[in-house]
Amino acid sequence: MGLIALDPALVDRCRSLSSDIASEVQRFIDAHTSVGVERTVVRALGVEGVDGQGTPLVNTLIDRLARAQLLSRGAAFYLGREMLRRRVSLQVAAEYLAYDAAEPTPEGGESYAQVAAALASDNEQAIARIDAARSERTQLSRSLQAAETPWKYVIVATGNIYDDAVQARAAAEAGADVVAVIRATAQSLLDYVPHGPTTEGFGGTYATQENFRIVRRALDEASHALGRYVMATNYSSGLCMSEIAWMAAVERLDMLLNDSMYGILFRDINMRRTFVDQYFSRRIIARAGIIINTGEDNYLTTADAVESAHTVLASQFINEAFAHRAGLPDALIGLGHAYEIDPALEDSFVTELAQAQLIRQVFPRHPIKWMPPTKHKTGDVFQSHVHDALFSLVGTMTGQSIQLLGMFSEAIHNPLMMDRYLSLKATRYVFNAAKHLGEEIQIRPDGRIAARAALVLRKACDLLEVVQRETLWSAIARGAFADVRREPTGGKGLTGVIAKDRDYLNPLLHSLEAA
């Protein structure tokens, strides 16, 4: 679409404020680790397995180190030390540390350098494993036909991974470019990642490494059969966001839902925990070349889409600033927003168009994720289908990158196979019918769209000015985003946040930061 005349100084100001906001939080992040981060490190170094109750070894190990108050030096330190002392492999060292009768203690003369050297080879392999998965993914996608944007993104959510695989293949065949397996609703609050394939889950399917593998295999088969690459998505969020990021990295996922603040606002996860975890998860994601999808669309399910549009933009600037600090380039930062304005309002479509174009222009190199209407959906499937068609029209006119397709059965049940097919068919029609419509349209500088976009940008900047002065911690505490208030010491997972010692050892983070 023709560009809206925006004030570039205002956009620059937003970026500069967000940079300050993120830097202030980053000082806390750099000084802390979490049980989630530590589990990720030992997993990546090669520790695997579960006990008879299904508790992952990494959980038993990290919980034990946490109880002994040893995590401030990093789990890797004790793992490497055990390898040196017992002259055993990393896996065996982990088993001793987790299950041996003797509790781990801080005593011992091994130096940081000695332990780091003992871990060097496992650490190199950990990085090489991420790199190999990335390269395999790139080769496969390059050998096949690439999808045109907006990418058509659909979800499957049966609760049973084997049914998900069938539905994923069906979706790919019906034209989906991206298939996401929705997670079981309670998983974000689990402080462990379940093990193995799962066949029971409410509102979705558990994210497990084996489940990732099963869906990726199904989509690989579909990609080869169709001659075009079909992307896989899951959720790097909740209390295990960095562990899941690592699993996705090595199991060749293409995208991850990953947000710097979503867990705080919508799952009441402690903010210190979330900030620490999101950073490490994004370091891994950056190395793996995975596209993140941020969660600002959710703001509009609790707050009003007209009144709070500027909070979405402000949050996108903050998410971008955090992502840059974790080494993510713009091309991997899929900022999220949504078509959630009350359809009964006059010019709701015009207002949506203004917002979509504003976001597109402010973040021109970013794979913007455009989410469908949900809040104002009722059980009227026929009206819902029309609502989705207008949403798709905005997506193609304004050149959104990732289009999560609306489902006419939204608000009724998880999409049936037929629902997904009809949504893909309708979206294909809209995208094709209006393919070059955007190019034909100029925006009146004195019109409604330009005025609306300018207003939202100015209000976002005003909000960022306030947040920069009060800090992000205080802003979240007073409900600046999504009308949700969270205290810095409230929420779940705070006890899993640990201040790092000066000699804290995390070879994986070290390698990821050095890249």
Binding site: G159, F202, F266, R267, T301, A344, H413, N414, M418
Partner: protein, 252 residues
């Protein structure tokens, strides 16, 4: 609603009594003349006659999606239809406030999505000041004190909070319904309350897209609210029940 004279209803398509309706469904086979005939018979098995299969498209590896039209044989006798609905007086916001003022103190309401449910859309629409479809939520009522605990709240946490703030009513929202988990989550609260000897301490309201009054009663709740419920309905129900409980007159 009950009367002895039968009142028969058929689906209204183009003319009264024609019974014309549309169905869409998926069958596990690929499009073919046989598939089309199978779809026609499937529709006939549902009581449709003169079936027209208007759409047959492959929608999955082994699946076909159909749209059919046909004349339904089926008739509903309205005189025999009964429903269980919560008794909700039809009151405007101002009338609700007036009635609530006769109670000694503010009406304290605690709401949450309990158990595994993470979807706060429903509870937010009823409780938050912004409300839904132009109607303000309970937070906007001067006579109500609202505590919206949000998503994935444990039953014990909900009960503890309800006791701490002296709640009159608990509002539980259940949106996710896969394999009956909404019933499971709702029943668990009622059981927990009875284990703790708190049965009857609070008015229990259950809401969600797949909730109705009958279901809510069967799960041990005082009322159920389904799709189309507005904050005003919920407020009116609560104020009415509390007024009766305290022996206040039901007229405004």
């Amino acid at each position: 609603m009950k009367s002895d004279r039968p009142k028969l209803l058929r689906a209204y398509g183009d003319r009264a009594g024609d019974g014309l309706l549309q169905l869409s469904f998926t069958l596990e086979l690929l499009p073919s003349p046989i598939a089309k005939e199978a779809a026609r018979r499937f529709a006939e098995a549902h009581g449709l006659s003169e079936v027209l299969v208007t759409c047959m498209e492959k929608c999955g590896p082994e699946h076909t999606y159909f749209v059919v039209y046909g004349h339904s044989q089926h008739v509903v006798d309205l005189s025999r239809v009964e429903v269980t609905e919560a008794e909700i007086p039809d009151l405007e916001k101002s009338e609700i406030e007036a009635r609530a003022q006769k109670l000694a103190r503010k009406i304290v309401v605690v709401g949450a999505c309990t158990g595994s449910d993470a979807h706060t859309v429903g509870i937010d629409a009823i409780l938050n000041i912004k409300g839904y479809a132009g109607e303000k939520g309970l937070e906007a009522y001067k006579t109500f004190e609202v505590h919206n605990l949000g998503a994935q709240v444990e039953n014990d946490a909900l009960i503890a909070r309800a006791k701490a703030v002296g709640a009159d009513a608990l509002l539980v929202s259940q949106v996710i319904t896969q394999r009956g988990c909404h019933k499971h989550n709702a029943r668990a609260l009622v059981e927990r309350l009875s284990e703790r000897g708190e049965q009857g301490s609070f008015l229990l309201l259950l809401g969600g897209p797949r909730i109705d009054h009958k279901l809510a009663l069967s799960l041990g709740f005082d009322a159920g609210f389904g799709p189309g419920t507005s904050p005003r309905h919920v407020a009116a129900f609560i104020v009415d029940r509390l007024s009766r409980k305290r022996g206040l007159s039901c007229s405004a």
